[in-house]
Symmetry: C2
Subunit: 327 residues, 2 copies
């Protein structure tokens, strides 16, 4: 089976590629060729597998067609301009997140006009498709009323994915990822950055700022769980989806206070002492509009598995990023 990963150089993309190379197969079907695409040519993984690394901008006409040259039976589409950038740059967000995805879907449709072709397409959507009104726990049949251009673009791509799948043009699964924590790497300016920062920095002996109250509740999955979602979506029986091709992934609802309690259990009081309360009204205001928890019953029934405690999320970070060591 040929596999194509678009957005392979991102944080989740790199972890997905590592899992594909490690397993050598998806759902028991061996991978014969792997194409990794991103705006910048991704680094090739160390493997005996046939790997092609390409720089590609999906929003450029013809780009998707090139990526489909080997008729990949499985396509992961993770590429996106992130929320803050899509909000700051209207045209870029719509061009990459909407037009790029649509050009990919259209290239698949046109490839299927020449010869039989109906690949599995796994698309990463986001809980940003949800907005006002926000119940405390969002059900699986709740409306999509995004409050950002990013969320709008993801919601539109979900609708396209469902329609193309209904028509048999490809076999799509859209997965709405929770906020990923603990994100590895340096602190960033994203409004959600502190959710990872208050765990990651203290574990490495660094101080971290907490801009919101401990009562703030949000929806999390580890990077490892995210890769698990992608692999499950790639191999699942999509007949079980019917025409509802987009699924809210099972996350873990936790308050900041629960995050901190988990950190104390895992790493002790010294680690927790490195969290500095620096209240920030702007961040608090942004985060107040975010979803707090989801039912995600449908995805759980279909075999998607998230974490059950924030302790687990912290331990995964220590295992996967810190080599099992706390600094």
């Amino acid at each position: 089976m040929n596999v194509l990963v678009i957005g392979a150089a991102g944080m989740v993309g790199r972890k997905l590629v590592a899992a594909l190379v490690r397993d050598g197969a998806v759902g028991g079907v061996p991978i014969s060729g792997l194409t990794l695409a991103d705006l910048q040519e991704p680094d090739p993984p160390v493997t005996g597998m046939a790997v092609k690394c390409v720089a590609a901008d999906l929003s450029r006409p013809g780009s998707a067609e090139t990526l489909l040259a080997d008729q990949p039976e499985l396509i992961f589409h993770l590429a996106a301009v992130v929320s803050a950038e899509a909000e700051a740059n209207f045209e870029k967000g719509y061009r990459i997140n909407l037009d790029g995805t649509r050009l990919l879907f259209e290239a698949i449709r046109h490839a299927g006009e020449v010869q039989s072709y109906c690949p599995r397409v796994v698309f990463t959507s986001s809980i940003a498709v949800f907005g006002e009104p926000l119940p405390a726990v969002i059900g699986d049949s709740h409306e999509q009323t995004p409050l950002t251009s990013y969320g709008t673009q993801k919601a539109i791509c979900e609708l396209l994915l469902a329609d193309y799948s209904r028509r048999g043009l490809f076999d799509g699964v859209g997965i709405r990822l929770p906020t990923i924590a603990v994100r590895p790497g340096k602190p960033n300016k994203a409004a959600s950055g502190f959710f990872s920062g208050i765990i990651r920095e203290p574990l490495s002996g660094q101080e971290a700022e907490l801009p919101v109250a401990e009562s703030v509740r949000h929806w999390f999955a580890s990077p490892r769980a995210a890769v698990g979602f992608l692999l499950h979506a790639a191999a699942m029986d999509t007949a079980l989806l019917g025409n509802q091709r987009n699924l809210t992934m099972p996350g873990l609802a936790a308050t900041v206070g629960e995050q901190i309690a988990a950190l104390e259990r895992v790493a002790g009081r010294d680690a927790v002492a490195r969290i500095k309360r620096v209240p920030d009204a702007t961040t608090a205001g942004i985060v107040a509009g975010w979803p707090q928890a989801f039912e995600a019953e449908r995805a759980r029934r279909l075999g998607f598995v998230g974490e059950t405690s924030f302790d687990e999320i912290i331990l995964i970070h220590i295992e996967d990023e810190l080599g099992g060591w706390i600094g």
Copy 2:
């Protein structure tokens, strides 16, 4: 105020134009100029008002810019390829219903870059944005999972309208119209045609075929109510909408049996005798997947008014289409 009506030659478009010409104002603001656009140049209404009639295909680049030349403060966008055609012709449906609408929205955005411009945009969406799973009564926060390409295109345009409005690029209101009954004119091949046919034909002394069971329940508004929704959306205080710019219009839930009982009350047993039961499994199957009833509480609270009985819908047809006479 300059007013632009796109899709002015359609059934609802013509009735809207008649109401605009009759009133000479919208929400108390006098209409100074009226531009009527459709694929074919619309017939000019009889009026002293300044009216421009233009043939325009929104999906052709530059077409929307031409329509905005007079900077209309109020834009009604009703133009669409209907459901059956959008399903039969994938590319045409997406080109007209999605790309055409997006080009209009983009033209408004670009006009606002040159000088201050933020028109009210009233967009007709449809209950076709709803699909599986379908509760007996669909709430105002129910997800959009359309089962047709037409419904998909309408749902995407709703998302765009909300995002452009949130960003202050225009002041949009999307209204999800119920199935319009009684549609005037000849019987057509639409799967929903019989809902109007079993009333319209008997009232004119003609026979009509009923392909489904009397227990089938659906969601209706008269053409007059549809025009009322459009005019209310044009004049309402959109600050009350917040970021939720799309509204399910209040319709009337009625079974086919209730339609027939209403016909008997209004026009007698002879009229009802003209309905011939001709069960058709294909039509019954299509209709089985359609919404039956909605809460529509939000729209009602915001002042949108539909009918309260099917008798009323029949009487409106007799008044508006038959000059008050039953054949």
